[in-house]
Symmetry: C2
Subunit: 220 residues, 2 copies
Amino acid sequence: MILSGGLDSSVCLALALAHRDNGGDSDGERTLAVTFDYGQRHKVEVGHAAAVAAHYGTEHLVVPIDLRGWGGSALTDASIAVPSAGGNGIPVTYVPARNLIFLSIAVGIAEARQLDAVYIGINALDYSGYPDCRPEFLASFADTARLALKRGVEGHPVELRAPLVDKSKADIVRLAAQLGAPVHLTYSCYRGGDAPCNDCDSCRIRAEAFLDAGLRDPAQ
Amino acid sequence: MILSGGLDSSVCLALALAHRDNGGDSDGERTLAVTFDYGQRHKVEVGHAAAVAAHYGTEHLVVPIDLRGWGGSALTDASIAVPSAGGNGIPVTYVPARNLIFLSIAVGIAEARQLDAVYIGINALDYSGYPDCRPEFLASFADTARLALKRGVEGHPVELRAPLVDKSKADIVRLAAQLGAPVHLTYSCYRGGDAPCNDCDSCRIRAEAFLDAGLRDPAQ
């Protein structure tokens, strides 16, 4: 279970735990939340992820992989500013190969720890236009992981689950409320200040979703 | 260019540089050797990689990504012994998702640094039976990377090149001699001692290859 500390992955964790508690997984009780400390400008989210995992009593593993060594994104290169919301195309907050790297490590952990599935809270409707959030990327990754892993070769591949992939952000806000997810512990801002900037793409998308859902954001 | 410090990746670097010097790449002079410091038992190989890169005057980036956090392999878990050569099936020296993780990071670096291709020295003939060394894995990874990366979406994906994939180990030894690759600087042993153990799978495959090629191993 990849947990960034943002809204989507926290709701995804709530869904994964609900699925498990309904007897949906053969590995019963075991759920591991994995957070990447990747040199992100908003490193503060790692602490939020820990708080969300603690809220659920879920084992939490922080994996350091410093993507600043090569940069190429406003989130991993201090010399590139995070823009205000808006603009066309793939924005400068896109991090080259981020979800590819995170999922690769996650399936490796799943194999080593004998966990059956990897959850990721990507969604492809209300998002920032990153190519590695699209369902076609995820489907292709699942094929590649099946070929890469011993357990894929042995006929029981790690399952990839992205239960939010076709949800709108307002749907995710509603789901959070239904599931009682600890939204007050989550953090979505790209700029990484103690309080959200309410100006970047991520803050703006979150604010519009709460507005659409007719709910108040408890993290504000 | 992924460089472990072993024989195969060093010959692969020699091939990449020969290709570049023949005008084969649009990005001209730029080659970057990337070595993963992944908590491997044979960490000594990282120094060998640096020596091989220095031999060629190639820029060298060491990327720390500690795979011991979840273990699952004799190479990343000190409690699992490296076996002597032989045995059937995928051996305990297999590291879950290793090449998937390394390639994912490598294509991210290639995109961030605007490099056109990633070379990897995998071969699927004389090897240890790892699933992530097979050509079908690599072909699938190339598809997935195309979908994950901005430059894939924009129509100029990072190329994946594995020029040794269908070579025998003896062929690779002969290639090394033809290209004048610095074989004396390479290191292949899984056990990580100062001198190779000449007992593990990797040492045994290397020794047999030199025997088949009728050449002496200058690293012995």
